[in-house]
């Protein structure tokens, strides 16, 4: 997604939930929402962490003011 963020791999955004953060990112970096979501849900093959913990509520996961949010390839199965 660095082609949308002027090469930066870490950006700041506001939002009370992951969904809110993505909306904020879309405002600042148009096009990013389509990379992260498919039909309004997190894209297949992705997972999201908040402060190092898997966000089980996914888009509804609460996010704190200084939280670190990461979008990662999904890790599942065993």
């Amino acid at each position: 997604m660095r082609d949308l963020t002027a090469g930066r791999d870490c950006v700041r955004a506001r939002g009370a939930t992951i969904a809110g953060v993505i909306d904020e990112l879309e405002t600042a970096y148009p096009g990013i929402k389509d990379r992260l979501l498919v039909r309004g849900r997190l894209a297949p093959g992705l997972m999201v962490t908040v402060d190092g913990q898997r966000a089980l509520r996914i888009l509804e996961e609460p996010v704190g003011g200084e939280s670190e949010v990461r979008f990662l390839p999904v890790m599942a199965g065993g």
């Binding site: 894209a43 093959g45 997972m47 996914i58 390839p73 999904v74």
Partner: protein, 928 residues
């Protein structure tokens, strides 16, 4: 149907008459005619030994003997070993030595062992291993099996009266605060598994049952022009035929857009091909008939017309411009700019930490290599099998071998457009799985269900061994590049890797996230300031790939641990010292940006370095010692457990976790610890989807952790209710009642005490039954590290690698049952040895797999491996009352790299391709 022949034989001491067709094997006669399900079918071609029986005292594979051949002969099956006195000493020794995990191979192993002990009263280890070379076991690594046979030999030389010595086996030597956790009690499913009573996937027979058979593609890549089922449908004895037309059509759609995202279209197409076939063995149609032989004959009558297309079976070739495209609509999925060009690359992602170019600029030494690994199969001895019965009331019941009954139920509901409540999945005992029987992947169950609905009869489907290899879900072959740099003091400054994983016929990124594990955990044992990992998921004309124990990580560990080892050589450092110097601790950040929690990485490395094995010098020509270190993140997730307190003080525990290797016992042990009762007071069983709450599949090394927490919660709940009952009996408030180690007490009025059993006996008069429930979704589990040390000797003329000594060190948090933990570590290590030295799918240019059987796809036998020494480290894991960490995945990760490093030290050559066969070794050594 062929005319039947009357056979009279003495079977397990009884004279038995039966009728069979001349083409029916003894195995089929025992199982399908006589109902003796103890002898198992693993390969049906005499290579696995699961069907071993004694014929006039000699071991034979009953799949290779015709039923008519035993007329007038004497046959002994596993059901004939125990007598009125109880278990045979061999059976008891297998129980006492924890000598099995899934138990599927055990009937055959017991029979073969009996034949040995009938001949030799005191066989050597070498003799036992040689004798059992024809009996494959995929779970145990053979160590405990050999010890059990030795133990049985000792018992048989003594009077037969002390066979139940194990019933109160003492706890481990290490003193603990626990009474049950950490001890080695016998397992709940043990007697069933050593006597042949345990029912696995292929063992369910119902009245009026039909047999299903698939029609499969002979081509690796072809467009289907037509399918004509008319001759098959009218064949006598055929009740139903289904093709893809019988399933509803799904558009490209991910039906669960989260971690287990599954593209429905791909699932449907993989079950029964609609337009194209994408690998040899791809199912196209299925028939149900009154016998397996009629079903096979009818399947051969289905006519399929193809337009054959060029195939591609290698990940590098599949990425080349002009490579045959498997899916015309597939575009590379990525977080970067979307691709509009059709490609075989299903997805690409990149992790970057710091500035890799800066990191490499700081390095004094840089190592860079390319690697490949072959497609390998999980190799469970039990084939996929299920029985489906779609009743006229609309209720679908499925008996099957699966790692997750609930996940399978939910998949069936989606695929068959049937309500979840209308489907009951009853999990059978599972004869090995290792990720290959996850409910995310479905092969037989939906097809058997449709056949059953059409035929209005139960339908059983069992794969042949060739079908298991050709058409289930092996794990990815790969092409990988790895680069690492370090200062001359041995501080790693940067690492970089490119991982190209074969997805098989369908993009794995839409199925499961093991590529995420590969990239995430590749360098997870090391604190590396700068790193970059690019990972690619590539479709090829092979069966769709899936998880195999620590999915993706064994492959990625192979290059990572070799370049680390090469660094150690270049820096002239001890390889464990280099690893310690760069080792991770709590808070260390991985290249994917996540951080380690509480871990025991350093403790494991130090234990390996101070182990007797590592401190013992190894010398001699063509001998070498290799070390590798590995990581698996483990898992938590949803589990349910109920605990019913019975009036006599016993406890009935039901959990939703399918038991692959003894977890119904380790879960019950945790409950016993809370309840303050001995384990033999708890009956522990696995529930079906109508009898217990939703529980995620058994996999990812999660069950003893998560379902253990569910059991603890259920036990706490039961105790809380029983405190209320005791309070009622004593006329005090519940908060005035305490509970400690099985005793309820109060000091409110006067000191009074009641045992758990005494309170249980008064439930009826104090309000009725007590059932404790635990519904949990624990997070924050702890990852696990393992370090393996292996000594090898290479024959310079043949290239054969002999393993002289093997030690596996692992942090398990808390070993709930040390015997099972040792078994998991030994079994995982031996699977990894097979991956390293022997195993791999072989293809011709047309995409035909050349070795779809245990004869040509070699997995380790008892003669290939030594005893596997285990060192258990217990650094308590976080967020579990007893500190449990997952165990099962870690031990398969280091072996291939450890072997490669040992081979390098033995020969001076680095082998970068798996498997490291004698031919590859001789080529690398310049001998051929």
């Amino acid at each position: 149907m062929a005319a039947k022949t009357r056979v009279s034989a003495r079977i397990n001491g009884e004279l038995v008459d039966f009728l069979c067709e001349p083409r029916q094997s003894l195995l089929e006669c025992l199982r399908e005619i006589l109902g003796l399900m103890g002898s198992k079918e693993g390969c049906n071609d005499g290579n696995c030994g699961a069907c071993s029986v004694l014929l006039n005292g000699c071991v034979v594979n009953s799949c290779l003997v015709l039923g008519v051949e035993v007329d007038g002969q004497e046959v002994t099956t596993v059901e004939g070993l125990a007598d009125w006195r109880g278990l045979h000493p061999l059976q008891q020794a297998f129980l006492d030595n924890d000598a099995f995990q899934c138990g599927y191979c055990i009937p055959g192993v017991l029979i073969a062992s009996k034949a040995l002990l009938d001949r030799e009263a005191n066989p050597s280890e070498e003799s036992i291993r040689t004798w059992l070379a024809g009996n494959l076991c995929r779970c145990t690594g053979y160590d405990k099996i050999v010890r059990a046979v030795q133990d049985a030999a000792t018992r048989l030389r003594q009077p037969r009266q002390d066979e139940s010595t194990s019933q109160d086996k003492s706890p481990t030597a290490a003193a603990t605060d626990y009474r049950v956790v950490g001890s080695r009690p016998p397992r709940h499913d043990g007697p069933d598994k050593v006597t042949g009573r345990a029912l696995f996937g292929p063992d369910w027979n119902l009245p009026g049952m039909l047999y299903g058979k698939m029609v499969r593609s002979p081509h690796a890549h072809a467009r289907i022009r037509s399918i004509d089922t008319r001759k098959a449908a009218s064949f006598p004895g055929v009740y139903a035929v289904v093709t893809a037309q019988d399933f509803r059509w799904a558009e490209d759609d991910n039906n669960n857009l989260d971690e287990n995202a599954v593209n429905s279209k791909y699932l449907y197409e993989n079950m029964l091909a609609r337009e194209k076939v994408l690998y040899v063995g791809h199912p196209i149609a299925a028939v149900a008939a009154s016998s397996p032989h009629i079903a096979e004959e009818a399947a051969n009558l289905i006519e399929v017309q193809y337009d054959v297309l060029p195939a591609v079976t290698d990940v590098r070739a599949a990425m080349q411009p002009g490579a045959p495209l498997l899916h015309e609509n597939l575009r590379t999925q990525s977080l970067s700019k979307p691709s509009q060009k059709p490609s075989n690359i299903g997805s690409h992602f990149q992790h970057v930490k710091g500035d890799p170019s800066k990191g490499f600029a700081l390095a004094d030494v840089i190592v860079e290599r390319e690697f490949t690994t072959a497609t390998v199969h999980q190799g469970y001895i039990e084939p996929h099998a299920c029985t489906a019965w779609w009743g006229l009331d609309g209720k679908l019941t499925v008996w099957t071998t699966t790692q997750g009954a609930f996940g399978l139920r939910d998949q069936l509901a989606r695929l068959l457009a049937h309500p979840m409540s209308g489907i009951r999945v009853i999990p059978a005992e599972v004869g090995g799985a290792f990720g290959g029987k996850l409910p995310i992947y479905v092969f037989l169950e939906p097809v058997a269900a449709l056949l059953s609905r059409k035929a209005n009869r139960p339908v059983k489907m069992t794969m042949t061994r060739a079908e298991v290899f050709l058409a289930t879900n092996p794990t990815s072959g790969t092409h990988m590049k790895a680069k690492i740099g370090a200062t001359r003091e041995g501080r790693i400054t940067a690492a970089q890797a490119e991982l190209y994983f074969e997805a098989g016929a369908y993009p794995s990124s839409h199925i499961i996230g093991y590529l995420g594990f590969a990239a995430g955990f590749m360098f997870a044992p090391y604190d590396i300031p700068h790193g970059q990992i690019d990972a690619y998921d590539v479709v090829v004309n092979k069966p769709r790939t899936a998880a195999y124990r620590a999915p993706g990580v064994t492959q990625a560990n192979f290059p990572a641990e070799q370049v680390i080892d090469e660094l150690a050589v270049k820096l002239a450092m001890d390889p464990i010292t280099l690893r310690l110097k760069n080792g991770v601790h709590e808070g260390s950040e991985l290249i994917n940006g996540t951080s380690h929690g509480s871990i025991g990485a350093e403790e494991v490395l130090r234990a390996a370095q101070s182990s007797a094995h590592y401190r013992t010098p190894l010398s001699g020509p063509y001998r070498g010692r290799g070390v590798a270190h590995g990581y698996w993140g483990n898992w938590g997730s949803r589990s349910c457990c109920t605990i019913q307190v019975n009036g006599d003080g016993t406890v009935t525990l039901v959990s939703g976790s399918v038991d692959l290797s003894g977890t119904r016992t380790t879960v019950a042990m945790q409950a016993a610890e809370v309840l303050g009762v001995s384990l033999d007071r708890i009956q522990s069983s696995v529930g079906d989807t109508d009898s217990i709450g939703y529980t995620d599949f058994t996999g990812g090394s999660r069950t003893t952790f998560s379902t253990g927490i569910a059991a603890i919660a259920a036990a706490d709940d039961a105790i809380a209710q029983m405190r209320g009952r005791a309070a009622l009996l004593w006329g005090v408030e519940v908060q005035d009642v305490t509970f400690d180690r099985g005793i309820f007490a109060t000091h409110r009025t006067s000191e009074q005490k009641m045992t758990f059993a005494e309170v249980a006996g008064k439930l009826a008069e104090t309000g009725g039954p007590v059932t404790g429930t635990g519904n949990v979704n624990p997070q924050g589990w702890g990852g696990g590290f393992g370090t393996h040390i292996v000594d090898v000797q290479v024959d310079p003329e043949t290239g054969k690698v002999d393993i002289l000594r093997y030690t596996a060190v692992q942090d398990v948090g808390k070993a709930v049952h040390p015997g099972y933990v040792e078994g998991q570590i030994q079994g995982g290590a031996v699977q990894g040895i097979g991956w390293g030295l022997y195993e791999g799918y072989q293809y011709n240019p047309q995409g035909d797999m050349l070795n779809p059987g245990f004869l040509d796809y070699k997995i380790p036998t008892a003669t290939d491996v030594p005893m596997i020494e285990t060192v258990i480290i217990e650094v308590p894991g976080p967020n579990h009352p007893y500190g449990v960490r997952g165990v099962g995945e870690v031990p398969i990760v280091p072996p291939p790299a450890a072997l490669a490093n040992a081979i390098y030290r033995a020969t001076g050559v680095r082998v970068s391709d798996l498997p490291m066969t004698p031919v590859r070794l001789l080529e690398a050594m310049g001998v051929i």
